[in-house]
Assembly symmetry: C2
């Protein structure tokens, strides 16, 4: 008998009525497919935010262990309520916390990674005809410690379970119809994609398309698990995320993404000595901060500039590290700018289409939008532009580069 | 180093401000006594009721396993927030769920009893200078199942921990100043007791004095753990609950209690054959219902009546069982009355004071209150009276029987 994994996000289980709707959806799928059902749920609606707010009223000191203890309750509430709703419809269901489901994770509070899932118990419960409802976003470390996987971690739980249980498909139910060529709130003629490769999805997710968590996509890619992103509130087929070799059509460009959580730092007139860049970026990495784009521009003199981007939230901390290194290496000045955003195009079919990047730059140039930094990968071209111009930039690029027949 | 256990109820941790107050109280005690501190907390304020309400919106089917899964989150929220509040004050604290604290319990969902507490982990954390904050009301069964101990179970958690850890004292912090000779809302001149024996407390708790859960008192009695019931919101000394041999003064009467959760059932004209009562009360016990008072009154003829009381909530179910048995044994009629209440006097010094019961009956008679049923034990006399008259009855008895110098 096949296993079918379905994940329902916080909006999908946001009210008692919605939980009952989700229970019906699950039983419909079970009836249609005859599959054994494993369900992953997030915390209801804004529960997680409310718990964080409650914590902030009690203490200004953040303790990740206690925060995980607190936040893990959100999913525990959802799993029990969903089971009750399934019971109400006359089917068998049993809930498992991350600990009970043996979702073993690193002992890194608030952002643990799943190491392994011991599936014996889940399989036994499935064989006893239970719908097994598992708390997303949480795991167990060192056999007893409750750890959370960080925001969006429920997606990862679902995909990891699908991989461990050799599920046919992992449905990620959410409040949108699937993956779009751009955020429809920003680009009104954005289209829903029929399918997209893991690599493209990964770039889109990392670049700010909020639908699927990057770690979930990575995990699906590693185990070749097909993800079906679809809406809890309609019966429409959504978007399938799968291996590039399984795609029916490779789109040159699958999507345009905006990431507003960007800030730019620049060291001016860096002495042209070996090891300077290494020193800087090692110091930043040691602080636990991730640098995104890096540009080193050689000037006429012996000095050059180094520019790079980090997440906006990290700007202050990275600035301090950078200034310290700048002093040590005798660099003239450090400047920062948080008024920037990253606009990117992503496409598995971009490889070999030399003209794509050029078309993007031309579209931006024609619209009078200044490009501050550029970075490229095999399936992506990103430009840093002014924060105020990024949405306009996305619309311009989408109009020029996304073919009208791209979606289903 | 001595261990000191403190338990804070739902009202005591009902808001972020109160949680911060509790954190200060704990650190004050730690500083004053130098003891290692183990803290037990209940769910915040009305959390448990809100969760039950949420469940009722999702399903009309009650599943005790999923209800325990749901309710256990309430205490988990409290323990994490209290630890954060303690961290804010600069001290070390770590929270443990029932599972993590190895509070092993029966696998009986929603009313498990604690079987054993494996204290190695708690002791290790205490030795590392942590204040250990443990979720009340919950335990672990079969190594992974989350079970709750039923309402008031947090008291039991605290006392069981105090017993297991050989604590000097178990402070039960609540929203009243201690144990009173009667409910001050009903009997305005009720007085706070300085001390009361386990046996008296057990009767008072069973009889509707809501302050301490009977199972907690039983547990304290078994291990000779002294309980100090006191208010979170004042610094006054409360009431000590201890062994009768340790009492400084044995009061003839320690308190007057009212239990409104009573209903009366009567089988009329029961054929006077052996085994009839056994048949009835076995059937009721098999249904899981507890019978309180039983009176068999022999009539002139060969038939007699059997009257008994049960909890008001159980009346409907017990009525059905009783009617079925009544038919089988050829009994004429079953009548029930839920408009009754039990008024009791309790006192460890009552033994040998033959006049106490008589004084109670006289006080009620002088006040024109009709006594429907009577039961007595060594330290208790209970009367069933009209529900509407029970509060008046309590005041009358208190005035006549409680000496004015009883309390501290």
């Amino acid at each position: 008998m096949s296993v079918h994994v379905q994940k329902f996000g916080g909006t999908s289980v946001g009210t008692p009525e919605r939980i009952k709707h989700v229970a019906r959806l699950i039983l419909d799928t079970k009836k249609k497919t005859g599959d054994q059902m494993v369900i992953v749920v997030s915390a209801m609606g804004h529960t997680t935010d409310e718990l964080i707010e409650l914590a902030s009223k009690v203490s200004s000191v953040r303790n990740n262990r206690e925060m995980d203890m607190l936040l893990a309750t959100g999913e525990q509430v959802s799993i029990s309520l969903l089971c009750m709703a399934i019971h109400e419809l006359g089917a068998k269901a049993i809930s498992l916390t991350g600990f009970q489901a043996r979702i073993k994770a690193e002992q890194v509070y608030s952002k643990a990674r799943i190491l392994q899932i011991e599936t014996e118990k889940i399989k036994k419960l499935l064989d006893e005809d239970n719908i097994v409802v598992i708390a997303g976003f949480q795991g167990v470390a060192d056999d007893t410690e409750i750890v959370t996987l960080g925001r969006g971690g429920s997606d990862t739980t679902a995909v990891a379970l699908a991989a461990s249980l050799n599920a046919n498909v992992c449905d990620i139910y959410t409040d949108v119809e699937g993956i779009y060529t751009a955020d429809p709130r920003i680009v009104p003629n954005a289209k829903k994609l029929k399918e997209v490769s893991y690599e493209e999805m990964l770039e889109l997710a990392s670049l700010g398309a909020q639908v699927l968590h990057p770690r979930a996509v990575e995990c699906a890619s590693s185990y070749d698990t097909i993800i079906h992103v679809r809406s809890t509130f309609s019966e429409n087929v959504g978007t399938f995320v799968k291996g590039v070799e399984d795609l029916e059509v490779k789109n040159a460009i699958s999507g345009v993404a905006i990431d507003k959580n960007q800030a730019k730092l620049a060291l001016l007139q860096v002495p042209d000595k070996p090891g300077v860049a290494a020193k800087l970026f090692t110091a930043i990495a040691d602080g636990g901060y991730i640098v995104d784009m890096i540009i080193q521009s050689v000037q006429e003199s012996q000095n050059n500039d180094i520019s790079f981007t980090v997440a906006k939230d990290d700007l202050e901390a990275v600035s301090m590290i950078t200034k310290k290194v700048a002093e040590e290496i005798g660099c003239k000045a450090v400047v920062s700018d948080s008024n920037v955003a990253k606009v990117s195009i992503v496409g598995a079919g971009m490889v070999g289409h030399a003209g794509v990047a050029a078309s993007m730059f031309k579209a931006l140039g024609d619209a009078g939008i200044n490009i501050q930094m550029i970075s490229t990968s095999e399936i992506k071209v990103s430009c840093i532009v002014d924060l105020d111009e990024c949405e306009h930039a996305a619309r311009v690029i989408h109009n020029v580069l996304i073919p009208s027949d791209i979606a289903q």
